[in-house]
Each structure stands twice: as C-alpha cells, then as structure tokens.
C-alpha cells in the first residue's frame, strides 16, 4: 500500500538517500489551471488560494512506497504561459511521466490540451507516460467541461484520466500514484521485451542514464 512520507518541506525529505527508483515527473498545462496548488497539495498537503505564479520551472521532491519499493519523485512544476515554452520544453527530455492539467471551469485550458499533448510528443522521450487531469472539480457550479468530454479526449489521446481538486484534496494522491504505477508497468514491459534499445539510455536523457542500474532488478 502506498504511504506518503510526511514532510512539510521537500528539503528535509530529499536528504533521504534510501530509495529504489527515482522518477522525474512534469506538471504542464495552461496558466492558472492549478499546477502549483496540485503539487503543494501532494508534496506538502497544504492548500492556499494565494500561490504566486510560477516563473520558469519549480521543483519538489517526494518519496512514496509503491509495490514494496521506495520511489523518489522529482516533480517539476512548470509555468503555463506561452512565452515560457522555450524554457519549459527543455525540461521535457528525461521526464518519465507527465501530468497534463486543465481547469474544468475554463474551456480554453481544455482546448489547449491537444496542443500540450503535441508538445509532449515533440520534446519528450517516446516512453513517457501521460495522465490527463481536470482540476478544480470542487467548483461544480462553474464547470464548463463535462467529465465525459474529458474522458473522451483522454481516450482519444491515449492517456488515463482523472478529475481532481487540489483544494478539496480529491484524487491528488491517486493521480500521482497511478502515474507511478503506469511508469512502473511500462518499465517492466520494456524489460520483459529485453530490448536493449528500450532499457538503455534512450535518447540520452541523463536521468534515464541514472535509472539504468536499478532497472536491472525492477520488479514492479
């Protein structure tokens, strides 16, 4: 069973050396869909409506237990504004998972999902796993994107789908844990096929290089 390590600050947690795998995860999506709030809810279990807007890219670390393994997550929180794309897409390489987020009360952020998905395909490595998340599902009165549409789009893009609320703490942990599971599944699939091109340092993301040794005994 997954259990989150309790820590207010990534700082403290990150100094823990004892883990089996490290995954790099990116959160992307339009400006103000709630990426930073989502990350703070997950990493610090806190919510404030008053986060400052993210500039460039921010960073947090969290360790979880999953399938008897300690997994350290490096989570990169990106700025959503278009002008930052050049900077943020530079971080796509080496990411093993993406949380692509829109705001269920904002049509435009939903319409941009396709575009974000193209960005992922262009800049990340082929095996990167993506979850589509419709955030702010606590704001039912202001909803403009139905769950059905979210699900359909996710199916169409081949992503798994969650609706979540960073504010009310709905599906936040589940989203991250599911993403970790999907990454693990993909990893063991790759190992099963014993294709060196997959297990090796594909496209040279440095993190994947680092992942290589522990991959050898991956059992999740």
């Amino acid at each position: 069973m997954a259990s989150a390590t309790d820590s207010r600050y990534g700082q403290k947690e990150s100094s823990d050396q004892n883990f089996d795998y490290m995954f790099k995860i990116l959160i992307i999506g339009n400006s103000s869909v709630g990426k930073t709030s989502f990350l703070f809810r997950y990493a610090d279990d806190s919510f404030t409506p008053a986060f400052v807007s993210t500039v460039g890219i921010d960073f947090k670390v969290k360790t979880i237990y999953r399938n008897d393994k300690r997994i350290k997550l490096q989570i990169w929180d990106t700025a959503g504004q278009e002008r930052y794309r050049t900077i943020t897409t530079a971080y796509y390489r080496g990411a093993m998972g993406f949380i692509l987020m829109y705001d269920i009360t904002n049509e435009e952020s939903f319409n941009a999902v396709q575009d974000w998905s193209t960005q992922i395909k262009t800049y990340s490595w082929d095996n990167a796993q993506v979850l589509l998340v419709g955030n702010k599902c606590d704001m039912e009165d202001e909803r403009v994107v139905s769950s059905e549409r979210g699900r359909q789009l996710a199916d169409h893009l081949g992503f798994e789908f969650f609706e979540a609320s960073a504010k009310d703490n709905i599906n936040v942990k589940q989203t991250f844990e599911r993403l970790v599971d999907v990454i693990c599944e993909k990893m063991s699939e790759s190992l099963d096929t014993a294709d060196p091109a997959v297990t090796g340092a594909k496209q040279g993301p440095q993190l994947t290089d680092q992942q290589a040794p522990p991959h050898q005994d991956c059992a999740c």
Partner: protein, 394 residues
C-alpha cells in the same frame, strides 16, 4: 547630501507648488553625478520617490520644468488609458488581459495587491504597457516589476511604515492617479532596457544566464564545477533571477534597496564602453537605442543598465554568497558515493537537494546591509572581470 535634503523639503515640487529659490538651485544639481554617487549606497526613504523619478529620467533635473513635465506625462498616460483600455475584452487583446487579470492576485505583498484599487491600477498599467509593446507583450514577471515603483511612490502618501498594511482607498483619487502615471512611466523606462528578456524565446534571459555561467566559471571554478557535477543547470535557478530581477529571491525591502543602486549606472571603473562590451563567449547587450523619445529631453538621465548589465554581476555575487552551503553538499555527496551501483542516482538526488536550496534561498531576514554587501561584491566582480574577459579564463 544637501541636495538630497533639499529634495526632501520639496516633495511637492512636481505637484505644482513652485520651489523656493535656493531649493531650486539645489535641486537643479540633483541629477548630477553627485546624486548618482550618493544613491549608489542607498537612498533615504523620505527622498526616495523624488530621487527615483529623477534617476530614471522621468523627471527633469531642472525643477522649474518638473510640474509641467509631470502634468504632461500624466495626461499622456491617461490618454492611453482612455484610448486603449476599453479594448481589453476585444478578441485581439483578451488573452493579454486575461493573463494579467489572473496573475495580479498571485503576487506579493498580497495584502497590498489585493486591495481593489491597487488591483485595478496594476491591471491598467500592465495592459497599457503590453499593447504598446507588442514585440514582447505581457509576460509573467513583468507584473512584479511594477511593485517597487508603486510601493515607493505610494509611501509618500500613506502614513504607515509597512506599506503592506496601508489602506489605499484612503488616498485621494487625484494623488492615486499621479502615482499610477508615475509608476507606469518609470516601469516603462526600466523595461526599455531589458525588453529582450520578454520577447519570443526570451533571448535576453538566455544570454544572461549563459553569461552568468561563464562568469562564475571564471570567478569561482569550484562552485561552477560542483554545480556541473551535480547536474544543476544555471537555467534551472537563474532563469527566475533574470526574469524577475531577483524579486522572487529577496524580500521587497531589499529589492527597493537594490534598485536604488540599479538606477544609477555603476560608476564605470574602466575606460570607454566599446571595450567593456565583449565578455568572453557571450557578448554583453549592445547599447540599445532609446525607445522612449521623451528621454531625449533628459540628457543626464541614467542608462538603465543597472537592470541589464550590472544585474548580471549581482546575480554572480548572489550565487557565490551561498558558496559554502553549495559546496557543503559535496560532503553529502562523498558520503553517498561508496554505494557504487547507485552512484548515478545519488548524483541526481544531490541535484535535487542543491536545486531545492537554490530555488528557496534563506533570505527572509535580509536587510539593507545584506544588499549593500551583495552590491559591493558585485561591484568588485564587475571591476575585476567585466573588462577583462580572459581574467582567470582557462
């Protein structure tokens, strides 16, 4: 100092009241090198608003011309507002307006910014600036740059010490209008010098981050190598330093002190500019033509290069201020290394550790003295390295 004191006695000089004869003569001297020298080491709070307006070139040095200039600039700004602000919901501009609108509540100091009157002022200033500068438009981070000007200028008109606690709704509307226009023009002038930070692909920032890297590699090779070994990229922490001029890294009071100095070009230690330009691999930004034609009437106005060129050295000094903390990570790293198979993983972890530190530097307690030390060190670095591109270069 006399000049500055005179400035303090005539805060209303620009507001229509004719300054006295001696004050007039004294103020005329204000924008001379003397004022710039004095401002370098920090401007006393009572004269800061006036001094900033003079140093930024917004106010003419000649006190007699100030009331007319102010009136004209204020009129000009509100003519823009009248002409453009209604278009914020047009299709062409709605994205810009929306971005500004959602960013302002996500700023600090929250208690000030969230006052409806302040929010409106920031929205107007940013929107007008954005549509008059289509090459960059509004980019997140520009909003932060409004705050120091607004806070400094409003401080003249509120009685509380902590501007965050000020109730702006009690400031008379005409005064607030003046503060808004003054803020707009001073911010515009600052942005004229760093606009390539915010144009497509943000070339100004990319270049400055590269230059920072190059500079640090010459100034402090061990720190540079340490960052490199731990796979910390300069862009990961210094992007924000450039994009927001360190405003996200230090408390607002420190930014204000920093800008006292930024607004005066640092006294140039070495000979003429052309030779000062090349900096090893990167080139320092070329002297930009003045984008603001009104600047021509202000012959002694500061080049706002404190915000562009000198900022780089401040960033280098800022990074090296944490030298010990950064290098201490090495011991941590060495301890981690005996576990040979995991070596690569540990490196990645240390990267996280270092990056978390660099993205959350412990500056909450910083005061003027910390900034002064930082500036002194930055000045030293500039003196030693700016005009010596091969100094310590391998």
């Amino acid at each position: 100092m006399c000049a500055l004191v005179c400035g303090a006695h005539c805060p209303a000089a620009g507001r229509g009241s004719a300054p006295g004869e001696s004050a007039n003569a004294c103020l005329f001297l204000l924008a001379t090198e003397e004022l710039r020298k004095l401002s370098w080491s920090g401007i006393p709070k009572p004269v800061r608003p006036m001094t900033w307006k003079l140093l930024s070139g917004y106010l003419p040095a000649n006190a007699e011309r100030r009331p007319a200039t102010l009136q004209r600039k204020q009129k000009e700004y509100f003519a823009f507002v009248e002409r453009y602000y209604d278009s914020r919901n047009d299709e062409a501009h709605q994205d810009t307006y929306r971005q500004i609108h959602i960013d302002i509540p996500r700023m600090s100091p929250e208690a000030l910014i969230l006052q409806p009157k302040v929010t409106e002022i920031f929205e107007r200033i940013l929107f007008i600036w954005a549509i008059r500068h289509p090459a960059s438009g509004y980019v997140q981070g520009i909003n932060d740059l409004v705050t120091p000007f607004f806070v400094v200028f409003i401080c003249e008109h509120v009685e509380v010490d902590d501007v965050d606690a000020a109730d702006i709704s009690r400031v008379p509307p005409d005064v607030l209008c003046n503060v808004e226009a003054d803020t707009f023009w001073c911010m515009s002038r600052l942005l004229d010098g760093i606009q390539d930070n915010y144009t497509f692909a943000q070339p100004g920032i990319q270049m400055k981050v590269k230059m920072l890297e190059e500079l640090v590699s010459r100034i402090d090779e061990p720190v540079h190598r340490h960052l490199d070994q731990h796979e910390v990229r300069y862009l990961q922490f210094a992007f924000r330093w450039m994009n927001n001029l360190l405003m996200r890294e230090v408390p607002l009071r420190c930014t204000v002190r920093l800008w006292d100095t930024y607004q005066v070009s640092p006294p140039c230690p070495a000979p003429p500019r052309p030779r000062a330009a090349p900096c090893a691999r990167g080139r320092l930004p070329a002297e930009r033509p003045r984008l603001c034609p009104s600047a021509r009437s202000l012959p002694r106005a500061a080049e706002p290069e404190g915000f562009s060129r000198f900022h780089l050295y401040v960033c280098a000094a800022f990074l090296l201020r944490w030298r010990k903390d950064i290098l201490e990570e090495r011991d941590f790293q060495v301890r981690a290394q005996p576990d040979a198979p995991r070596r690569g993983v540990c490196q990645g972890l240390a990267c996280g550790e270092l990056l978390l530190f660099l993205q959350n530097l412990p500056t909450a307690h910083w005061d003027d003295e910390d900034v002064s030390l930082l500036l002194a060190e930055a000045y030293r670095l500039k003196f030693a390295f700016a005009d010596a591109p091969n100094h310590y270069k391998k």
